[in-house]
Amino acid sequence: MLTNAVEIEDLTFCYQGTRQPALRAVNLTIPRGEVAMLIGPTGAGKSTLYMCLNGLIPHLIQGRVSGHVTIAGMDTSQHSIANLAQKVGTVFQNPEVQLFSLTVRDELAFGPENLALTKDDIFMRIDQAVRAIGLMDLLEREPAKLSGGQQQTVAIGAIWAMLPDVLIMDEPTSNLDPESSQRVLRLIRKLNLEHGKTILIAEHKIDEVACFADHVIVMNQGQIVLDGTPYEVFSQVDRLHDCGLVAPVATEIANRLQANGWTIDRLPLTVEEGIDVFSDLLGTARN
C-alpha cells in the first residue's frame, strides 16, 4: 500500500519562451487520504503545479522541466496523460467550460467511454458516480440549464466516474452562493471520508476553508513558502501578508491585538475560536 498520493521532488519548470521559472525547486508530499488546500496569489504557480500533477506537463505543454513527480506511485514522465487521467481528476473552476453534453447521464458517461470500457462497466461507473455524488434527480437534465451549484456537482460527478485516486479542484466554490458552497465543501469531505480519496483544493475564500483542510500549502512566485497544518500556516500572519494573502478574520484581529501588547497564547482560526479567545480577553460572557 502506497502511503503518499503525491510526491514532488525538486520540481522546476520553465514555460517555453520564458526565462523565469513558473515553478522553482518545489518539494511536496501529500499523504493518501488527505484533504490539502493550496493557496497563493494569482501567478503563484498553482495552475502550473496542477498541470504537472495530471501530466499535461511534460507531455503536452512545452518547456524545460527538472525533478520528479510521482502520483499514486506512477512517475508522470513515464506514463501517458490517458493513463494518468485514471489516477488524477481535475475539476475546473468554472463548470461551464467542462460540461458539454445534452444530459447529465451523457456527461457522466463521457470519461468512461473514452477509457474504452464495456457498456456494463460504463453503466456501473455512472451508477457509482450518481450514488456517491447524489445526482439521481438530475440524470436526464441538460447541464447547461442547471444552477451553478448543480453544475459544479455534475462536474465533480463526471470526474468521479473516472475513479481517480487524486482529485484536484480549482476553486470549486467560486461561482456559488454561500449555501451551495457549504454543500459542495460537505460533499468533498464526504468523498474524502467515505472513499478515501486524496483531494487538493485551491481556494481564495480563506475564512470558509481555514479549518476544512488537513494540510495547507502556500505558494508564492513559483515556490512553496508555507506547508503545514491549518494552525501552523495561518498563525504566520506576517508571512501571509508578505505573499499578498490574508489570514482568517479571527486570526487577523488576534494577531493585531498581540502586536499591540495583548497576550493571546494561541491564535484563533475560526469564528468560534475567535469568540472564545476575545470573550476571555474582554472578560465577558459569550453571546
Partner: protein, 307 residues
C-alpha cells in the same frame, strides 16, 4: 426587439427621479422558466448597490434588463426615465456599462489595447480622446504595461480586469459588475473594489452582483436581496445582516466579521461592526487599559478527519 406583451404606456423622464426603476418586471425564458416574477425596485443615483441572492434567484436576468440585453416579458424597466422597450440598446449602453461575470464572453480583440478602445470607437469617440480614456482605464486596472499583449496570454484574473477596463473607458453613469471578485486573489480583489469605490466617489452609480458577503459589508451602501425572481428586501447592509429570517430564506450568510462581532457579548447587536478594522477598534475600546489577560485556548480544528 420588444415582445408583444411589453406595452407599458409611454413614459416621460419627468415622471421619475430614479436612475433605474423596474415595475412589476417579469421575464420568462424560452422553455418557460420564470426567471423574474414581478420584481419591483428603485435605484437612486450615486449609490453603491449590491444585488445578492442564491444561484438562480434572478440576479443576472435582472441586471441584463438595465442595458436592454433582455426586454421584459411584462412590466417595465426605466433607465433615466427611458423605457428600455422603447430605447435602443446603443443608447442604454451610454448610461449603463456592463462587465460580465465571465470575461471570455466579452473579450475578442487581439490586443489588450484594441479590446479596451473598441467600445469607444463604436460610440464615435475621436481618436485622441479615445487614446486618453483607454490609457486611464488600463492604468486604473493595472494592465497598461500589458497593453500590447494578446488577451489569451493573460490570466483569468487579468482578463477580468481587462473586461472591466473596456467598460470603464466608456465612462458611463452606471457601472454594473457581475461577480467582479470571483476567482480573484486578495490583492486583485482589493484593487477592483477600490477602483469601484473611487468611481463611486466621483459620482457614478455602482451595481454589483455578488455572493461575497464580506464585499457587501465593506463596500455597499444598499443591498437588494433577490429570491425566486422577486425583490425580497432593499435595505442597508446592517439591516440585511440583522434579518435572520431573510438570510435563512435566501441561503445567505453574514460575513465572518459580523458573525464574530455578534458572538461577543460585549458588543451591542445593533452596533455590530461590518469591517475587520471596525471590529478591531470596538474590541480594543472595550479592553481594560494596560491589562493584558491570557487564557489558553484548546485548539480543535473543525475539519479534521474522524479517526
Amino acid at each position: 426587439m420588444c415582445s408583444a406583451t411589453c406595452s407599458a404606456p409611454p413614459e416621460t423622464s419627468s415622471g421619475t427621479n430614479f436612475l433605474i426603476e423596474t415595475r412589476d418586471l417579469w421575464h420568462v425564458y424560452d422553455g418557460g422558466v420564470n426567471a423574474l416574477q414581478g420584481a419591483n425596485l428603485q435605484i437612486q443615483p450615486g449609490g453603491f448597490v449590491a444585488i445578492v441572492g442564491s444561484n438562480g434567484s434572478g440576479k443576472t436576468t435582472l441586471i441584463k434588463h438595465f442595458n436592454g440585453l433582455l426586454k421584459p416579458t411584462s412590466g417595465s424597466v426605466l433607465v433615466n426615465g427611458m423605457d428600455t422597450c422603447r430605447t435602443r440598446t446603443s443608447q442604454l449602453a451610454r448610461v449603463i456599462g456592463f462587465v460580465f461575470q465571465n470575461p471570455d464572453h466579452q473579450i475578442f480583440a487581439s490586443t489588450v489595447l484594441e479590446e479596451t478602445i473598441f467600445g469607444l470607437k463604436q460610440m464615435g469617440v475621436v481618436s485622441e480622446e479615445a487614446q486618453e480614456r483607454t490609457t486611464r482605464a488600463l492604468q486604473a486596472v493595472g494592465l497598461y504595461e500589458m497593453r500590447n499583449r494578446h488577451p489569451r496570454q493573460l490570466s483569468l484574473g487579468q482578463r477580468q480586469r481587462l473586461a472591466t477596463a473596456s467598460v470603464l473607458a466608456l465612462e458611463t453613469q452606471v457601472l454594473v459588475l457581475d461577480e467582479p471578485t470571483t476567482g480573484q486573489d486578495f490583492v486583485a480583489r482589493r484593487q477592483i473594489m477600490s477602483l469601484a469605490m473611487d468611481l463611486n466617489r466621483q459620482g457614478r452609480t455602482i451595481l454589483v452582483v455578488t455572493h461575497d458577503m464580506t464585499l457587501v459589508a465593506e463596500y455597499a451602501t444598499r443591498v437588494i436581496v433577490m429570491k425566486a425572481g422577486q425583490v425580497l428586501l432593499d435595505a442597508t447592509p446592517k439591516e440585511v445582516f440583522s434579518r435572520d429570517d431573510i438570510l435563512r430564506q435566501t441561503g445567505l450568510k453574514v460575513p465572518p466579521v459580523v458573525e464574530l462581532g455578534r458572538g461577543l457579548g460585549a458588543i451591542d447587536r445593533a452596533a455590530t461592526p461590518l469591517t475587520l478594522n471596525e471590529l478591531y477598534e470596538v474590541i480594543v475600546s472595550k479592553l481594560p487599559p494596560g491589562k493584558a489577560s491570557s487564557k489558553s485556548l484548546r485548539h480543535k480544528p473543525l475539519g479534521t478527519r474522524g479517526q
